[in-house]
Structures are given as C-alpha cells and as structure tokens.
C-alpha cells in the first residue's frame, strides 16, 4: 500500500495575545489509500488542527505535508483551493451546508465548481442523494432537514467531486447515538465500496470502534496508534431494525429499497460512472 498522506515533523502553535498554545508538536503520520482512519483524543489534543492542515485549510509553522506527493504547504492559496476541490472532500461537525441552497443544490454546487454543467451537476447530485438514501429530500433546504439528514447531504457533497480523501471533523458529534451509528455505517460502506480514504477526527466510541486504524493524539503528539482488521460495517438492520420503526416509516423504507434496486438495474451505466 502507498501512503497518500504524509506528514513529517509537523508543528503548529496558536498565539492568543502573547500566550503560545501549542497545537501540534512533531507529528509524523502516514495514511494509506483506502484506510478508514480515526484521529482520537480529547478536546484540544490537535485533531482538528491536524485535519485542517492536511486539508489545506490552514498552514503549519514547520514540517511538511504531502498529499498525493504534493507539498500542500508550499501551494498558493488559489492552488490549495483547486487542490481541495479535486482531491479532498470535507464533512464537518456542524454539517455546514449552504443555507440558501437545497440539499440537491448543495451537492451540485461543488460539481459546478469543477466546471460541470448545471444539468450534469444536478444529475450527479441525484445519484449521491440516492447513495446516502435521502433522494426524496433533495428539494429541501438544510433547515428543513434533521441533523442526520443534513450530515448525509454533507457526505454526499463531499463525495460528489469524486475525491480520493474524505476528511471528517467530528461528524457524529451533533447527532444522537442511533443517527451517528447509521452515519458511521454509511461512511464505512462507502469506504469499502468506493475505496475512498476516510480520515475522521472523533471521540465518539462508535467511530473509534469502526476504525480500521486508530491514531490517538494528546497535547499535539501521536501517543498511541493501532490498526485493526477492517470490521464489517455496523449492520443498519441491527442498529436500526426495520421492524421497530413505525408502520409508515417501514413502508417508506421498503418502497425506497425496492425502487432503488429497480432503478439500478435499469441504468447500470449511470451508477457505474460514480462508483
């Protein structure tokens, strides 16, 4: 396996007035293609800072960060923007959807940024809405969606540009346990099916449980790290058995599954393009 993310001796310090607050202290990290890696640690341990630097959202004080063999710390701001658009998808704790756009438009927006036509972008958006199982909610604005639904849109948006890496910062922190588990299941499934690398910062035990590799940070340093045999995704049926849901919801889920299976059979080309 090859490392697609390499950080070497990465340092970052924030200054509040004259007081230094070290955030990262000599981080050496390699993430390989297809990993479902989780950065764990307490608040202030440097998880988000590390994600931001790897995601070219923030600069480091020293050290190097190579993503796909490109040193992102030496890129201009506009080049970083383009790099993020082409290679990295982001999922944030607070979902961070564009409020004035519908779910579908939020996803289509990033495709348009890539230069795709509006029609093509909307088609791609529909595909990813199907993938995250909320196709019927595409016309809703973010404030008409639940937290879990918004996070699914955020994941769809992150995947719509077909990035090789998804960086997710506390993606389940604002969700209830069950919704969080469903989301982890979704991300795991996408990781295994599409081979997209996931690097997630979280202190949610369920996320840690799902990780193929767990990297523990404390005071800006990697203090512990272990890999596990990839676990099968948490079964949505065990986490959220259909038979426990209200009748209306059970009928809706069954119908959705039935129709989505039929659609996939009818248009295998459309689906294979994005998978």
């Amino acid at each position: 396996m090859t490392s697609i993310i390499k950080t070497r001796d990465l340092h970052k310090c924030y200054w509040v007035g004259t007081m230094p607050h070290p955030a990262l202290h000599g981080i050496d990290l390699d993430i390989e293609q297809g990993e479902f890696a989780v950065l764990a640690g307490r608040s202030g341990s440097g998880k988000s800072t590390l994600l931001n630097i790897i995601g070219a959202l923030e600069s480091a004080d020293s050290g190097s960060v190579e993503v796909f063999d490109q040193n992102i710390l030496q890129m201009t701001q506009d080049r970083r923007t383009r790099f993020r658009l082409d290679h990295i998808g982001f999922v944030f704790q607070a979902y961070n959807l564009i409020r004035v756009f519908s779910a579908r438009e939020n996803i289509a927006y990033v495709c348009q940024l890539q230069g795709k036509s509006k029609e093509e972008s909307l088609e791609i958006a529909n595909h990813w809405l199907r993938e995250v199982e909320i196709e019927h909610l595409g016309y809703r604005k973010p404030d008409q969606l639940s937290g879990g639904q918004q996070q699914r849109v955020a994941i769809a948006r992150a995947l719509a540009t077909e990035p090789q890496i998804i960086l997710a910062d506390e993606p389940t922190a604002n969700l209830d346990t069950q919704t969080g588990r469903n989301l982890i299941h979704l991300m795991q499934g996408l990781n295994q099916r599409l081979g997209t690398t996931f690097l997630i910062s979280s202190h949610d035990p369920d996320v840690k449980e799902a990780a193929s590799r767990l990297i523990k940070l404390a005071d800006g340093q990697i203090v512990d790290e272990w890999s596990t045999i990839p676990k099968p995704p948490i079964s949505i049926s065990s986490a959220c058995p259909v038979q426990n849901k209200p009748l209306g919801e059970r009928v809706r889920i069954k119908l959705n599954r039935m129709f989505s299976r039929r659609r996939r059979k009818q248009s295998p080309k459309d689906n294979s393009r994005h998978s």
Binding site: F92, A94, Y109
Partner: protein
C-alpha cells in the same frame, strides 16, 4: 492542473438573490431607504435643473440674448470707438443657421439722464423696437406706459429705479447726455414713454432705452453698432452658435461672447448651483452607500462561517468576491431603479403644476427665476444619478467582498 473552477452566472445570481431574501426584513428596510434616497435625489435634481433652466432662459431673454457679437475689445472698454462698422458682414450670416431664431443690433454706452433737478448715471441702450422683440422679452416688462413705437424717434424707456431716482413720470422730457466716439459730449431730449420693471437690479437701476436710428444719428455712429445680439432656439445650442460664428468670422476683429461670459455674477451663480446640486447628490449617495455598506457588513459578519465553508469546499477567492459584489450591486440596482422610478413619477406629477413659491417672488426675480418652479429631469441628471449610484454600489460592495476573501477559513469554520 485541470480546468479553472467556474460557476455559471445563474449560480451567482441565485446565490445573491437567495442571500438577499434570507433576511427579508433587513433587505426591505435597506431597499426602502434606498428608494426614498434616490427618489428624493431625483426630485431635487429635477427641481435644480428646472429652476436653472428657467433662470438661464429668463436671464438670456431679459436682456443679453444667447450670443453677443462685438467689435474686439468693446466688452472691456465699453467705448464707442470699439464698434462694428459693417454690421451687415455679421447679419448676412443669420439666415444660414437654423439654430438662430432672432437677432437685433444695439448701441450701448454710459450716459446721464436728468429731468428737472434730478439726474442719474444710466446705461443707454439703443435698439430696433421691432427686432428687439424677436430676441428678448424686455418689452414684456413695461409696467407703465408703452414699448418703443416704430418711427417715434424721441421715445425713451427707463428702468423703474432710475425713473424713481430722477423723479421722472410718463410723458416727461428727459435729457440724456453721452459721449460720441470722437470724445465730444452731446445731449438730446427724449419723451418718457414707458417704465420697465424686470426685477433684475442691474436693469431696473440703470437702463435707458431709445430707438437705434435715433442713437446712430445723435451719437454720430452712421450705420455702426456696438452689439449684435443673437437668440438661439435653445440655450443648450449656445455653444454651437458661437462655434458657427467663430468659424465664419475668424480672422476678423470680432469678439463672440456666449451669455455665460456676459454676466460674471450669473455665471458664478450657475456654477454655484451646479456645485450645490453635486453636493446634494454626494450627500444622498454617501448616505445610501453607508446604508448598503452597513447591511453588507452585517450580512458578511453573520455569514462568516458559511463563507469559510464555501471556500473550504473549493470556491476561489475571486468567486467569493464576485458573489458578494453581485449581491451588493443587485441590491443597489433594484433600490436605485425603484427609487428613480418613484422620483420620476413625482417629477411627472409636479411637472404640470410646478411648485409655487410666490411668497418668495422678490428673491426669485433677483435671480431671474419664476416664482413657480417646474421640475425638469434632464438626461444629464439621470445619467449622473444612475452613474453615481453605480459607483456607490461598487464601492459599497467591494469592501465587504474583499473582506470576505481575507477570511481565515479555519477560523471561520470554528465559529459556532
């Protein structure tokens, strides 16, 4: 590196419109402020243009005409030696230009008017009684008695203040004294046929009006005159008429003066009015600009996180800049268009009846103004208002848009 990122104009517009609709109350209040400001600005500009146009017309028609042609140096010397000896060289050109609707010849000189024991310095103006009526409206200001009668060589009209100063009444014999071109002083007796009251002090205090033929004989001028006064079809065409005469009479010893140069005080007053109009535009535009800037900055402050997000997911700085600038431009475009429309409707409503300020009639007469002001929205003013508003829109939009591009993405994302 792949193609540059691009967004269609519809995406920019959708983003701008929806963001404006996001806080409808704030957008509505901002729009109402703009509509009010631009409507008032439009009305004030139209009133300014209206009374300036009246003032120019009244000034031109009361005495000076649009263009005066003199022998070179006469305006400065006011000496009869600087006279036009062959006025036909100029007057033969009058028929050639459609912009000229009338002309007359005059002799102007300083003199003394006396009757009984009273006397006063006067500006003697000799003119053709009929031709003068084609050029100016001075004959309409005869408040007592009659205008100069053709063929009546001893007729005299005096300004109301002059007549009062020397104690002259209609029918009185008034002696005028003046200097001939050769330098000798001569006097002549005239009969006071009318009294002029124009409201313009320099006319009422000094004018003594006599027939041109009489003056030419009395002052030993032959066919010479001092002024050839031209009336154009509109004061906007004054420059064109001046250029036409300048081309035809180049190389000859004439001075061709537009009305603006004939009375420095009026010119200064008009310049002051233009500057005053500009100040009004600037004040209103600055208020509107501050309002828009305030709205945009508050809106930006509220959306810092969202701007951080759109930057994080791949929107370039120039795209963010364009989005926010378009939002401000759109807001100002809608506000300015509606404001201009409301202002134009107000102008239209008032253009029939005008604004009656008869209570200040004396002050208005002093400045050649009518007591009823009719708003007149000129294309120049419309362009000035809309152009200034557009510049204001860009100024008000550029700063918040620029600030948005300076946001730290990671800090913006940390906002709760």
């Amino acid at each position: 590196m792949a193609n540059r990122t691009r967004l269609g104009i519809t995406t920019y517009l959708m983003f701008a419109i929806r963001n404006l609709m996001r806080n409808r109350r704030r957008t509505t209040i901002t729009l109402l402020t703009m509509i009010f400001g631009i409507a008032v600005l439009t009305l004030l500009s139209a009133l300014n243009d209206g009374w300036l146009s009246q003032m120019k017309t009244n000034f031109i028609l009361s005495y000076t005409g649009h263009v005066q042609i003199h022998a070179r140096g006469f305006e400065a010397s006011q000496n009869l030696r600087d006279r036009i000896n062959k006025p036909e060289e100029v007057t033969r050109l009058m028929q050639s230009y459609s912009e000229i609707v009338g002309w007359t010849q005059r002799i102007r000189t300083s003199g003394l008017a006396s009757v009984g024991g009273g006397s006063a310095g006067v500006q003697i103006m000799a003119t053709d009684p009929e031709q003068e009526t084609w050029v100016t409206s001075i004959h309409e200001h005869v408040t007592w008695g009659d205008w100069l009668r053709p063929g009546m060589s001893r007729d005299l009209l005096l300004g109301a203040t002059v007549a009062e100063t020397i104690g002259a009444d209609l029918g009185n014999r008034v002696i005028l004294m003046a200097q001939r071109p050769a330098g000798d002083m001569v006097s002549e007796v005239f009969i006071l046929r009318g009294i002029l009251e124009t409201g313009a002090p320099q006319i009422d205090r000094t004018l003594a009006l006599i027939p041109l033929n009489t003056a030419q004989t009395w002052l030993d001028m032959g066919q010479s005159v001092t002024d050839i006064v031209v009336r154009a079809d509109h004061h906007e065409n004054t420059g064109q008429v001046v250029r036409l005469f300048a081309q035809q009479l180049s190389g000859q010893s004439y001075e061709i003066m537009p009305w603006q140069e004939l009375d420095p005080m009026v010119r200064q007053w008009l310049e002051f009015s233009d500057a005053y109009g500009l100040v009004i535009i600037l004040v209103v535009v600055i208020l509107v600009l501050v309002e828009i800037l305030n709205t945009m900055l508050i809106s930006l402050h509220e959306r810092n996180k969202e701007i951080g997000v759109i930057a994080a997911i791949g929107t370039t700085r120039i795209q963010i800049f364009s989005m926010l600038l378009l939002e401000a431009v759109l807001l100002i475009f809608i506000g300015a268009s509606l404001g201009y429309l409301v202002g134009s409707l107000l102008v239209y409503a008032l253009s029939g009846t005008g604004i009656d300020l008869t209570g200040y009639a004396n002050a208005f007469q002093f400045f050649y103004m009518n007591p009823v002001i009719y708003p007149d929205l000129t294309s120049d003013s419309a362009l000035r208002i809309l152009g200034t508003t557009l510049i204001a829109a860009l100024l008000a939009g550029v700063y918040p848009a620029w600030r948005a591009t300076r946001l730290s993405i990671s800090q913006a994302l940390r906002i709760q």
